[in-house]
């Protein structure tokens, strides 16, 4: 179902072609990073710290080096020193520890051998002496007076007055507007609640993998799974102290990322070992390594207070947010601060957010980083407000929703946005008024996420036969190649299947930033449109030459050059006729679009969730789910729906089951898909995705990023549904059967207030 504003009619955009890389993926032939093997290849394994916090006293690699088949052993000493405080320090020492380890699973060395078994045995023979330090594992640990300080150089950024002593607070963000005291004074209802959440993992099914091949000339090629191969190139170069141009990165198919593959872990180790051994080195993480050593999303403690007038008008908001970003500084709190009140027009507000470091794996981005948690707090509070004031939760949101011109938390007025349209799409859906069964409850929640622009490049090559190759620098995580082809088809006017979309390596296409911030279809799409539009200009010129007319008299219509001049009728020239004569009219037809995309458009989503709660065991089942989201323009609606549905599934997992569990030493207790419970098919219902289209004025086809917003509303939607079913408010994640039963029991065992 699609809610559509009046918009231009497109021939290709909005259709649902079979994705161009699809056949390879359903036949098992698509090459993911771990599928590649090179002649002479060695297998590399990282040696990882068993301690959450320790000083490395010494590393003895001699026994490992002497073992059969072992060709290369490296430690932090094989990489250039990096000073604490250097802007790349965190990334560099996270990839391989230097003097200290900061979490269980932190890489301290790596070995490469002829077989994986030899490498495993050699890794076990690397002797690391540790001076174990007390671990800092929770927010309370980190903020306690006299707490062990992870990084002696870390002074709190944003502190007022400026920090003079190091601490575990990496950053403080403050936003304020209006007059908070006056706002609360004007409120008829003030509610303040505290929420806690645990780190969760992106849970991509493909583990991190790469193959690096360093030649005698000192140049290296890396095949890897990442959300941005240009970033792999620059980060690897930084770690190795190499010139960027010595490294070529070839993107393999990527088996999911969700933000977790925007950073690097293995590539510099593989390159260093390959350089030392003079042979290619392949590294593939185990699932256990992925859980222990790659970035989860932050855990949080959030306190939010709302002031509301009796008619439902939100007049004041106060938020105190703490995000743990794992072992190094991260942006969780900043992003939480930027999202907590962003969806609603609240004149008087104060937000203070702390980012703290603890001895757990360094957080990485995870789909709309930080926002699902602020939404958990804000949207469950709104539900409580609606209950208290006897206002329909939908009306409360419609009344306070931001619309065009309203100021954001950061002060700028919103451009055209589709929040109200998303709310209305849910309100008008049959689900909103469908009857509920026994022990069932319904929850409504909204969510907001930015979209980002950044740099993108695309090249359009027209082939002799009239087909086109569109090369971009954005790894295709979820079908973006099809979207690129659709936009190129729309501009060029040729069939979408006559376009072959390709992800180019770092030497085959212009610089392109990481696929993050829901930017691929938005920003790289813009580059494709720009290159395609340049191609149309070129084609008109060639056609004019062939027809012997002025270029101004040539229009490009449906893939043909059409003469519009007054010098009689001329047969239109189809694209293939022009490409066939390219040699005679000026040579190959190639255009590029390289740009820094401006005008990323915010995306909103509204979700409606029905749950059924077993009141005696606390088990919660999601039984019906409907989600609306503003896509601006859906280039390939099936993949927009897929992004929404995937976000919902991840959000439901986050809400009900997923969490990192550590023992008192900081050792992860559930590093497997058995005990880290991502939703399975039998755990979810169908997910009805409603695409709302309020075009982004800054994009040639109105695109807004859609990849992330869908994960923002599910946690509060589930929480509100549980409340509706049981009368209990759950404010700690995950809302496991244990917590739900506990809440029901403390609430008197029945559906209470």
């Amino acid at each position: 179902m699609t809610v559509t504003e009046p918009k231009p009619s497109y021939k290709y955009i909005g259709t649902r072609p079979v994705r161009h890389d699809g056949v390879e993926k359903v036949t098992g032939r698509a090459r993911f990073a771990a599928d590649l093997n090179l002649p002479g290849q060695l297998h590399g394994i990282a040696v990882r710290s068993p301690h959450a916090h320790a000083r490395i006293v010494s590393i003895d690699t001699s026994e490992a080096e002497a073992m059969p088949g072992v060709k290369s052993v490296i430690t932090g000493d094989d990489f250039p020193a990096v000073a604490p405080g250097d802007r790349n320090y965190d990334m560099c020492v996270n990839v391989i520890a230097r003097d200290k380890v900061f979490y269980e699973g932190h890489a301290v060395a790596a070995v490469a051998a002829i077989t994986r078994e030899q490498a495993q045995q050699a890794a076990a023979a690397v002797k690391v002496a540790y001076d174990v330090l007390p671990p800092v594992l929770t927010i309370d640990d980190a903020l306690a007076p006299g707490a062990p300080v992870l990084h002696g150089h870390m002074l709190t950024a944003g502190a007022d007055p400026p920090a003079e002593e190091p601490s575990n607070i990496s950053n403080i963000t403050r936003f304020a507007g209006g007059d908070l005291d006056a706002g609360f004074a004007a409120a008829d209802l003030v509610i303040e609640r505290e929420f806690t959440t645990q780190p969760v993992h992106q849970g991509y099914i493909e583990t991190h993998a790469c193959v690096a091949d360093t030649g005698q000339d000192g140049h290296t090629s890396i095949w890897c799974s990442s959300q941005g191969h240009f970033n792999v190139r620059s980060s690897t170069a930084t770690l190795l102290g190499w010139e960027t141009t010595r490294i070529r990165v070839i993107p393999a198919e990527i088996g999911g990322g969700f933000g977790g593959k925007t950073t690097i872990y293995l590539e510099p180790l593989a390159v260093a070992m390959s350089a030392k051994a003079g042979r290619p080195v392949k590294m593939v993480m185990s699932r256990d390594e992925v859980f222990r050593a790659t970035g989860p999303a932050p855990g949080t403690r959030l306190k939010v207070k709302l002031g509301v007038q009796s008619d439902g008008n939100l007049v004041a908001g106060d938020a105190y947010l703490i995000y743990t970003n794992g072992a190094y500084a991260g942006p969780g709190g900043l992003l939480g601060a930027m999202t907590v009140f962003e969806s609603y027009d609240i004149e008087n507000f104060n937000i203070e957010a702390l980012d703290v470091v603890i001895n757990t794996a360094r957080s990485a981005a995870y789909r709309a980083p930080a926002a699902p948690l602020t939404a958990f707090a804000m949207e469950t509070l709104l539900d409580e407000v609606a209950t208290e004031l006897g206002i329909d939760p939908m009306d409360l949101r419609l009344q306070n929703a931001v619309t065009e011109g309203d100021p954001s938390t950061m002060g700028f007025p919103f451009a055209r946005i589709g929040f109200v349209e998303c709310l209305e799409a849910i309100r008008d859906h049959p689900h909103y008024t469908a009857p509920l069964g026994p022990n069932q409850g319904r929850g409504l929640a909204a969510g907001y996420w930015f979209n980002i622009g950044e740099s993108s490049s695309a090249t359009v090559n027209l082939n002799e036969d009239g087909t086109a190759t569109v090369v971009t620098g954005s790894p295709d995580i979820g079908g973006s190649r099809a979207s690129m082809a659709l936009m190129a088809a729309e501009v060029l006017g040729i069939d979408v299947y006559d376009i072959r979309p390709v992800v180019g390596d770092t030497e085959a296409v212009g610089f392109t930033d990481v696929t993050e911030g829901s930017r691929a279809t938005f920003a790289t799409g813009m580059a494709v449109v720009e290159a395609s539009r340049k191609m149309v200009v070129e084609l008109r010129g060639r056609a004019a030459k062939m027809m012997g007319v002025d270029v101004d008299d040539i229009d490009w219509v449906d893939g043909q050059a059409v003469y519009t001049g007054s010098d009689g009728e001329k047969d239109p020239l189809p694209l293939a006729a022009i490409t066939g004569k390219a040699k005679r009219t000026g040579g190959p037809l190639t255009t590029t679009g390289s740009l820094e995309a401006h005008g990323a458009g915010p995306g909103f989503a509204v979700h409606l969730c029905d749950v059924e709660v077993d009141q005696e065991t606390g088990v919660v089942r999601v039984v019906r789910y409907t989600a609306s989201q503003d896509a601006g323009t859906a280039i390939h609606p099936s993949y927009v729906e897929g992004q929404i549905q995937g976000g919902v599934a991840q959000g439901v997992g986050w809400a009900l089951n997923e969490e990192y569990i550590y023992d008192s030493d900081g050792v992860m207790e559930n590093p497997s898909f058995l005990d880290y419970r991502v939703p399975v098919a039998s755990y979810l219902p169908m997910i009805d995705a409603i695409i709302v289209e309020v075009p982004n004025p800054a994009h040639p086809y109105g695109v807004r990023g859609v990849g992330e917003t869908g994960i923002v509303p599910p946690i509060p939607a589930v929480a509100n549904a549980i409340h509706n079913a049981t009368g209990c408010r759950l404010r700690d994640l995950p809302m496991s059967p244990i917590r739900v039963l506990d809440a029901i029991t403390s609430n008197g065992g029945s559906k209470g207030a």
Binding site: G158, D160, T173, R174, F175, A176, G177, Q202, F258, G259, G260, T262, P331, L334, L335, A337, M338, A364, A365, Y366, R367, A368, P369, S408, T409, M410, G411, F412, P413, A415, W449, F450, N451, I452, G453, E454, E516, G517, S518, R519, E596, H598, G599, A600, P697, A698, G705, G707, E708
Partner: protein
């Protein structure tokens, strides 16, 4: 011609908490230089991790972006994503 510059609240330290100030410059970069002269320290804050919104358009790396007469400029923190 001076233009009106709006600072998100986390950037207002150097202005003593004032949200909206005036500055001159043909480009955003020049504007930042001018703001730094008027409010020492603000330049550093605006040169790292800050985007602008000009005429509804979010621009992440705006240094050379031209500033038209009458434009309203909003400095905001840069976002990231997953």
């Amino acid at each position: 011609m001076p233009v009106r510059v709006h600072l998100s609240s986390n950037l207002r330290g150097p202005t003593g908490g004032v949200a909206e100030v005036e500055a001159e410059g043909a480009t955003v970069g020049a504007l930042i230089d001018d703001l730094d002269r008027r409010y020492p320290g603000l330049g550093d804050a605006l040169r790292s991790g800050v985007s602008v919104v000009i005429n509804d358009l979010l621009i992440a790396h705006p240094d050379y972006e031209p500033v038209a007469d009458g434009a309203r400029i909003y400095f905001v923190p840069q976002t990231a994503g997953g």
